[in-house]
C-alpha cells in the first residue's frame, strides 16, 4: 500500500517542481532539481541507496516529465543506472552507482548501434541515440562482447551532435574508433537478458512520456478552442470540432489504461510492453497532428508551442523500435498462440 501513497506524492511533487505553464524548462536546472529530489534513483534498489520504487512510480514520473516536454534526459539516465545496478559482477559497480546517484550522467542509447570488433578486442563503429551526450561522462552500450561503460574521455571515443527537428532535446552519435572496452557490465551471454530487461523499462518510460505530453497537448487545444472565436462563437461550439476533441481524449484514456495495466503486470513480455508504447506513441502523434490543425495558422508558427509537441511525438515514435517493427512482432506472437 506504501507504494500507492508514494505514487500520488511523487506526482504531486513533480507537478509542483515542474509547473504545467513552463514547457521545456532549462535542461541543466531541471537535471539538478531531479537529482536533488532523488528521481535519478527511483528504480534503484534500496540496498544500493536508491528509492526502490516500482515500475508504476517511474511511469508516474515520466508522465509528468512528458507533460512539460522535459529537456533533461531522465529516461536514458534511469536506464543507464539500472544497467549498472543489474551488473552484479561489475567491479566498480558501487562507485559508479554513487557517482550517478550524485548527478553524473551515463545514458543508455535509445537507437541501434552498428559496431564491429577487431581481433585485438577493440571496437569500432557508431552508437546512435545518445540523448544530451554533451553532459554524459560515459555511455552504457551494448558492444559485441557484452554491455560496457564507454567513458567519453577514453581513447577512440568521440561524440558527434546530430541536429534533430525536436527542439526539446539534443541527440548525439557516439563514434568508436579502435575503442578498447575496460568497464564490462556483462559478458556476451549476459547481454540478452539485460537488453530485454532494459528494453521493457524503456518501452514503459517512453509510453508514459508520450501520454503525459499528449494530455498537455489536448489541454492546450481545448483551452484554445474555448477562446478562439470565429463566426461570432468560440470554435469549441462546433460539433465537428468537438467530436475531434472527444476522439483525442478517447485515444489518450484508452492508451493510458493499457499502459497502467502493463506497468503493473510484472510478467508482461517485452512485446506486450512495446504494445503499450506503440499505442501511446500513435495516440500522441494523432493528438499533436490534430492540435496543429485545430490551432489553425498560429499552430504553424515557431513562437507557438504546438510544433514542440508534434516534433516530440514524431521522434518518440522512432525510439527503441518503431511501430512497424513492434506491430509485426505483436502479430507474430498472437499468431503463435
Amino acid at each position: 500500500m506504501g507504494a500507492v501513497i508514494a505514487l500520488d506524492e511523487l506526482t504531486d511533487a513533480a507537478q509542483k517542481a515542474f509547473p504545467a505553464e513552463e514547457l521545456s524548462p532549462s535542461r541543466d536546472e531541471s537535471w539538478q532539481l531531479a537529482a536533488k529530489m532523488g528521481w535519478l534513483m527511483v528504480r534503484l534498489p534500496e540496498e544500493d541507496g536508491g528509492l526502490g520504487f516500482t515500475r508504476e512510480a517511474s511511469t508516474a514520473l515520466h508522465l509528468e516529465m512528458g507533460r512539460v516536454l522535459a529537456a533533461m534526459p531522465l529516461i536514458p539516465a534511469q536506464l543507464g543506472l539500472q544497467a549498472i545496478a543489474a551488473s552484479e559482477d561489475f567491479a566498480e559497480r558501487a562507485n559508479w552507482l554513487e557517482r550517478l546517484a550524485g548527478g553524473e550522467y551515463a545514458p543508455l542509447p535509445m537507437l541501434s548501434a552498428k559496431l564491429t570488433q577487431a581481433s585485438d578486442g577493440t571496437v569500432s563503429g557508431m552508437i546512435s541515440g545518445v540523448f544530451e551526450g554533451d553532459m554524459a561522462v560515459a555511455v552504457v552500450a551494448e558492444l559485441p562482447g557484452g554491455y560496457a561503460l564507454v567513458p567519453l574521455e577514453a581513447p577512440g571515443v568521440s561524440l558527434v551532435e546530430r541536429a534533430i527537428w525536436d527542439p526539446s532535446r539534443r541527440l548525439f552519435d557516439l563514434v568508436l574508433d579502435g575503442f578498447a572496452p575496460a568497464l564490462m557490465l556483462t559478458d556476451a551471454a549476459g547481454a540478452k537478458p539485460l537488453h530485454d530487461r532494459l528494453s521493457g523499462e524503456a518501452q514503459l518510460a517512453l509510453a508514459a512520456d508520450c501520454l503525459g505530453a499528449a494530455g498537455a497537448a489536448l489541454d492546450m487545444t481545448i483551452e484554445y478552442m474555448k477562446v478562439r472565436r470565429q463566426f461570432d462563437r468560440p470554435i469549441a461550439l462546433f460539433q465537428a470540432l468537438k467530436h475531434r476533441a472527444a476522439d483525442m481524449k478517447t485515444r489518450i484514456v484508452v492508451a493510458e489504461a493499457l499502459l497502467w495495466k502493463r506497468a503493473r503486470d510484472e510478467s508482461a513480455s517485452i512485446t506486450e510492453l512495446a504494445a503499450a508504447k506503440v499505442l501511446a506513441a500513435e495516440a500522441f502523434r494523432f493528438v499533436t497532428e490534430e492540435m496543429v490543425q485545430l490551432h489553425g495558422g498560429i499552430g504553424l508558427t515557431d513562437e507557438h508551442p504546438c510544433h514542440l509537441f508534434l516534433k516530440r511525438a514524431l521522434l518518440n515514435l522512432q525510439l527503441c523500435g518503431n511501430a512497424d517493427l513492434w506491430n509485426e512482432c505483436l502479430g507474430r506472437a498472437a499468431l503463435a498462440k
Binding site: L218, I222, M225, K226, P234, A236, L237, Q239, K242, H243, A245, A246, D247, K249, T250, V253, V254, A255, A257, L258, W260, K261, E272, A275, V278, L279, D324, W326, N327, E328, C329, L330, G331, R332, A334, L335, K337
Partner: protein, 391 residues
C-alpha cells in the same frame, strides 16, 4: 475479500465445467432455436444462482458485490457461454426500473416472474425519437382508470418474444419535452398491440416495431407519477454500467484466435503487412479490455466520472468494427458467399454478418456521435450547443 472472489471463481468454474452449453452456436441458427437456447441457459443460471447477481439478497443468487459480478461475467465469457440476451432487458432494465421506482405491488407482481422466464422489452425509441429520445410522440390519454395509448415504437430488442413492455408515452405536450412523459408497464398481449419484426441487413431479426392502437393500460401500471417518466427512464438506462462491455471485450479477445486461423488458412503467415495489421488489432483489443476493466475496477472503488462510460463504449464499438473489417478483408471473396448466421453472438466468424452486426454497437445505446458529445461537453467541459435552431 480477494480470497472470497477466488473461491467464487472456482465455484463458477466448476459449475461451468459440467454445465456450460457446447454447440450452442449450431443450436442458434434460427430465431426459434436461439430463443429456446436462451431460455434453457437462463433457467439453468437462475437455478445455479448466477443469473441475477446484481439483484438484492432477498432473491436467490442476488446480493453479489460488483466485484463478484465481475468474476461471474469473466468466467461466463471465458467459457464461451451464450450471452444472456433474451433476458437482458428483464434482469437489468425492468429490474432497475421496478426496484428503484416501482411500488410494492408492482415489485411483488413482476420481479419473481422474471426469474420464472417472463421477458420484457423496451418501448422507448420511435421513428422520430432516436438520439433525441425526449421527442417521443406516442400519446397516453387518461380515461378513468386506464391510459389509452396510440403511437409507434421502434428498435425494441426482441419485442416479438416479450411478455411485457417498459413503455414511455406522452401525457402532456406542454412545457419542456421531458416534462410530459409518463412511464407505463404494458402487457404485450393486450388488444391493440401489433408487433412487426425488423429484418436486419445481416439476416437477423433482433429488433421489432410495436404499433399501439387504442391500447388500454390500467393506471395501476404506471411507474412514478404522471409526467415524471423521464426521471424513471434514467434509472432504466443507467441500470447496466460496464459489465456488458467488459464481457464483450473479453469475448472479442478470445475470438482473436479466429483471425489468426484466417491468416493461416489464407497463407498470410509470413505476410508482414498482414502481421503488422494483426498486431495493431491485437493491441487495440487488449486496450479495450484494459479500459473496460479499469472502468469496472473504478466503479468497485466508487469512482466514476461523467463520460467514462462513453469512452469505453466508443473504444469497444470501434474495435469491434476493426476486428470484423479485418476478418472480412482476410476472408476475401469467400465471405461474399452467403453462409449460415448465428443468432446472439458478435464474434461468429461469419465475417459479413459480424461486420454488419458491429453497426448495432456504434448506433444503439447512444450512438457514437452522442457519446462524443458527452465526452466533449461533460469531460472536456466544452460548451453545449444552444437549444433550437433558426432557418
Amino acid at each position: 475479500m480477494t480470497h472470497d472472489l477466488e473461491a467464487l471463481r472456482r465455484e463458477v468454474r466448476s459449475f461451468l465445467a459440467t454445465e456450460a452449453p457446447s454447440g450452442w452456436r449450431d443450436a442458434s441458427r434460427t430465431q426459434d432455436d436461439f430463443v429456446r437456447t436462451q431460455r434453457d441457459w437462463f433457467g439453468k443460471l437462475v437455478r445455479a444462482g448466477y443469473a441475477i447477481p446484481h439483484w438484492p439478497a432477498d432473491y436467490p443468487g442476488g446480493g453479489r458485490s460488483l466485484a463478484e459480478q465481475k468474476v461471474i461475467y469473466e468466467e461466463l465469457a471465458g467459457a464461451d457461454c451464450p450471452r444472456l440476451l433474451l433476458s437482458f432487458v428483464s434482469t437489468y432494465h425492468a429490474f432497475a426500473t421496478l426496484h428503484e421506482c416501482g411500488n410494492a405491488g408492482q415489485k411483488a407482481r413482476y420481479l419473481p416472474k422474471i426469474l420464472e422466464g417472463e421477458t420484457w422489452c423496451q418501448g422507448f425509441s420511435e421513428p422520430g425519437a432516436g438520439s433525441d429520445l425526449a421527442a417521443i410522440r406516442t400519446r397516453a390519454e387518461r380515461k378513468g382508470d386506464v391510459y389509452v395509448i396510440n403511437g409507434q415504437k421502434v428498435w425494441s430488442t426482441m419485442a416479438q418474444f416479450a411478455d411485457k413492455c417498459l413503455l414511455l408515452a406522452r401525457t402532456s405536450a406542454d412545457g419542456v419535452k421531458q416534462a410530459g412523459i409518463t412511464y407505463l408497464l404494458m402487457d404485450m398481449k393486450a388488444p391493440g398491440v401489433t408487433i412487426r419484426p425488423i429484418h436486419q441487413i445481416q439476416g437477423d431479426e433482433e429488433f421489432a416495431e410495436i404499433f399501439l392502437d387504442n391500447v388500454e393500460i390500467p393506471v395501476s401500471e404506471r411507474v412514478g407519477e404522471e409526467g415524471k417518466g423521464w426521471a424513471v427512464a434514467q434509472a432504466t438506462l443507467a441500470s447496466e454500467r460496464g459489465l456488458t462491455l467488459m464481457e464483450l471485450s473479453y469475448r472479442m479477445r478470445g475470438a482473436l484466435g479466429r483471425v489468426a486461423g484466417l491468416i493461416r488458412e489464407h497463407g498470410h503467415s509470413e505476410d508482414r503487412g498482414v502481421l503488422r495489421d494483426f498486431g495493431v488489432l491485437v493491441t487495440q483489443v487488449d486496450a479495450v479490455c484494459a479500459i473496460a476493466d479499469q472502468f469496472l475496477d473504478n466503479r468497485i472503488k466508487g469512482i466514476e466520472h461523467m463520460g467514462d462510460a462513453s469512452i469505453v463504449k466508443n473504444a469497444y464499438s470501434r474495435a469491434l468494427r476493426a476486428y470484423s473489417a479485418f476478418g472480412l478483408r482476410l476472408g476475401g471473396m469467400d465471405e461474399q458467399y452467403v453462409a449460415p448466421i448465428t443468432f446472439g453472438d458478435l464474434n461468429t466468424g461469419n465475417w459479413m454478418a459480424d461486420f454488419m452486426n458491429s453497426y448495432a454497437w456504434t448506433i444503439a445505446g447512444g450512438s457514437e456521435e452522442v457519446q462524443r458529445n458527452i465526452i466533449a461537453e461533460r469531460m472536456l467541459d466544452m460548451p453545449r450547443e444552444p437549444k433550437g435552431w433558426v432557418l
